[in-house]
């Protein structure tokens, strides 16, 4: 080994790694490799996930093609399968859910973010909404099946028929199981998401805007209407879409109250079907590749719709707040 200058002897050359240093670097490389491998593995799992949804649907895709979406028949006996009743039921129930949950959720979010009076209610409300988010959907379904269904049949549905019966939406007999009850259940289930996300979006409205509006003499209500809501509009749209994504895919609770009949009816009192409830109801008894394939086809459609809605929602929320929305 060459004897260097005094300085070279004191400061070791950093690039000449001792065996110990090499070991340390190898450890780093192994650890980083492991972390990278796990990240790639999750991408692989997601890919397998999509393939696992797509491949078994192939028999039905080949047989029915895009006509699947406009066929009104779902008849396992004659082996004719169409997604229209389930698609219709999914859209109708989700729409009812959002229509009910949107004003209530927005009001509750405004209370949490804006209202200074009755501040003692803020803690309990946040707690209640969080609690609701944590209740398993089968428990909500159980409650809806035994408590909500008779209530709808005996009180809510007759009342709607009397007052709004001139609309085709509220005609016909009601047994409590159907679109409307499922919609109410979905409203309860998406409320936590709606409240939490809208609250965050409203809180992100710059304080200066609020104060400027109030300083100009606007009342609180006017400030909300003409300053806060316009500013938060995009973010609130995102919150509605994320709620919609949740409502579209909700399975168990809806299956318990929708009535599970592959029909299309204008009346909201009518029984129906939704994409996930067909799967939950018929999957284990489906025999033959075509029947099973049709169920997988429904599942694939459901997944593609929810992905589209979720991605759109996240882009909106992200563009508005400049940060990722909380994963719910």
């Amino acid at each position: 080994m060459r004897r260097g200058t005094a300085a070279e002897r004191v400061i070791p050359a950093p690039l000449v790694a001792s065996s110990r240093q090499r070991r340390l670097l190898a450890g780093d490389r192994i650890f980083q490799g492991l972390a990278l491998a796990s990240a790639i593995l999750i991408l692989l799992i997601a890919a397998i996930f999509m393939v696992a949804l797509f491949l078994p649907a192939l028999p039905a895709i080949r047989r029915f093609g895009l006509g699947f979406f406009v066929t009104r028949t779902w008849d396992p006996v004659r082996q004719i399968f169409g997604a229209l009743p389930a698609l219709y039921g999914t859209l109708v129930t989700s729409a009812i859910g959002i229509v009910i949950a949107f004003p209530i959720g927005l009001g509750a979010a405004l209370f949490l973010a804006e209202e200074a009076r009755l501040g003692f209610l803020r803690g309990p409300l946040s707690f209640a909404v969080e609690l609701l988010a944590g209740i398993p959907s089968v428990v909500i379904g159980l409650w809806a099946f035994f408590i909500l269904t008779p209530l709808m049949r005996d009180n809510v549905d007759p009342f709607l028929r009397q007052t709004l019966g001139f609309l085709p939406l509220f005609q016909g007999t009601a047994n409590g199981y159907g679109y409307l009850t499922a919609g109410v259940v979905l409203a309860i289930m998406v409320l936590p998401i709606m409240v939490a996300l809208s609250r965050d979006v409203i809180r992100a409205v710059p304080r200066a805007l609020r104060e400027a509006s109030l300083a100009l003499g606007a009342t609180k209500a006017e400030t909300i209407w003409s300053v806060i809501l316009p500013y938060a509009r995009v973010g609130i749209t995102g919150a509605v879409l994320l709620s919609l994504g949740r409502a579209l895919g909700e399975t168990i609770a809806v299956t318990m109250v929708i009535g599970n009949r592959p029909v299309i009816a204008a009346s909201l009192f009518s029984s129906g079907y939704t994409l996930p409830s067909v799967l939950a109801n018929e999957f284990t008894e489906a025999v033959g590749p075509l029947y099973q394939g049709s169920l997988f086809y429904l599942g694939l459609v459901l997944v593609l719709i929810t992905i589209a809605v979720n991605v759109l929602a996240r882009v909106l929320v992200w563009r508005f707040s400049g940060s990722e929305p909380a994963s719910l």
Binding site: S38, I42, G107, G134, V138, F146, K220, L248, N310
Partner: protein, 279 residues
């Protein structure tokens, strides 16, 4: 002056609407929990509820021992798969993930979060049930593990990112390699967030029914072999509720109460743990 009056009245009216919506948001929760408590408690206190498997229809007594074991085992195996793996992916995202791979993983994990829970059941069915030709608890565990993954990994990433950069630099300045700094400094500092994420994921998995329908399938006998069909509390609630026997329906309420309690306790544990870590 009357214009001012209308404006003030309108303001009051909007405030009233807001308070009304608060009540409408809070009431369903209270009503729901009250019903589950009132209708579930008698069944839960009945002898044999915790210790005996279901009896045949018409034979009094019987419990949900099979379902309790099933839920614990299915969620347990699922957590063993999802928590270490998800934590490692979370470490990747926070420590090495400021690049395209990291962004892709984040996007994919967000997409997974938004998927309907029944999709995970289909996944478990195609990947494990159809290939092994019979229903099994382990296929349910795998389905739940994929459902839990995004929750675990995003919680881990969030917790790790919050650890101050100076702690990383201090560790590296002492001569420790990066992997030891990560494992011995960064992860312990973020443990509260990681554990909370894992517990929340478990709570969510324990309450899921749809992924179990065509994976674990359900089983009225006590089964511990993960390769066989297995019962679970959520399945008991779903199936018993739809049966026309009042004693089985009572059992559904009791099982629902137990499920809610399990989920609530896990949630509370997560919170308490965070508070203890933070102190």
């Amino acid at each position: 002056m009357s214009r001012l009056l209308t404006r003030v009245l309108l303001d009051r009216f909007v405030s009233a609407l807001i308070v009304l919506s608060v009540m409408l948001a809070a009431i369903p929760v209270l009503v729901l929990l009250l019903f589950v408590l009132i209708k579930g408690l008698p069944g839960m206190l009945a002898p044999g509820f915790f210790t005996s498997p279901p009896h045949p229809v018409g034979v009094p007594g019987g419990g949900v021992f099979n379902a309790i074991i099933g839920t614990l085992e299915i969620v347990g195996i699922g957590s063993l798969l999802a928590v270490p793996f998800g934590t490692l992916v979370g470490i990747f995202l926070s420590e090495y993930g400021r690049n395209r791979i990291g962004d892709t993983v984040r996007f994919v994990s967000d997409v997974l979060t938004g998927l309907p829970s029944i999709a995970f059941g289909i996944f478990g069915y195609t990947v494990l049930v159809a290939t092994l030709h019979h229903f099994s608890a382990v296929s349910a565990s795998v389905a739940l593990a994929v459902l839990m993954l995004p929750v675990v990994l995003r919680a881990t990433e969030t917790a790790l990112v919050l650890v101050p950069q100076s702690m990383r630099e201090a560790g590296l300045a002492l001569g420790a390699p990066r992997w030891r700094v990560t494992i011995e400094v960064i992860v312990p500092a973020a443990l509260g967030g990681i554990v909370t994420g894992a517990l929340l994921a478990m709570a969510r998995a324990a309450g899921e029914t749809a992924p179990l329908l065509f994976t674990a399938l359900g089983n009225d006998f006590t089964q511990v072999d993960p390769l066989q069909p297995m019962g679970a509390l959520a399945l008991t609630v779903f199936k018993n509720a739809l049966l026309p026997y009042s004693d089985l329906q009572d059992q559904a309420w009791a099982a629902a109460l137990l499920l809610v309690l399990m989920v609530a306790v896990t949630n509370i544990l997560a919170r308490v743990y965070v508070r203890r870590i933070q102190r």
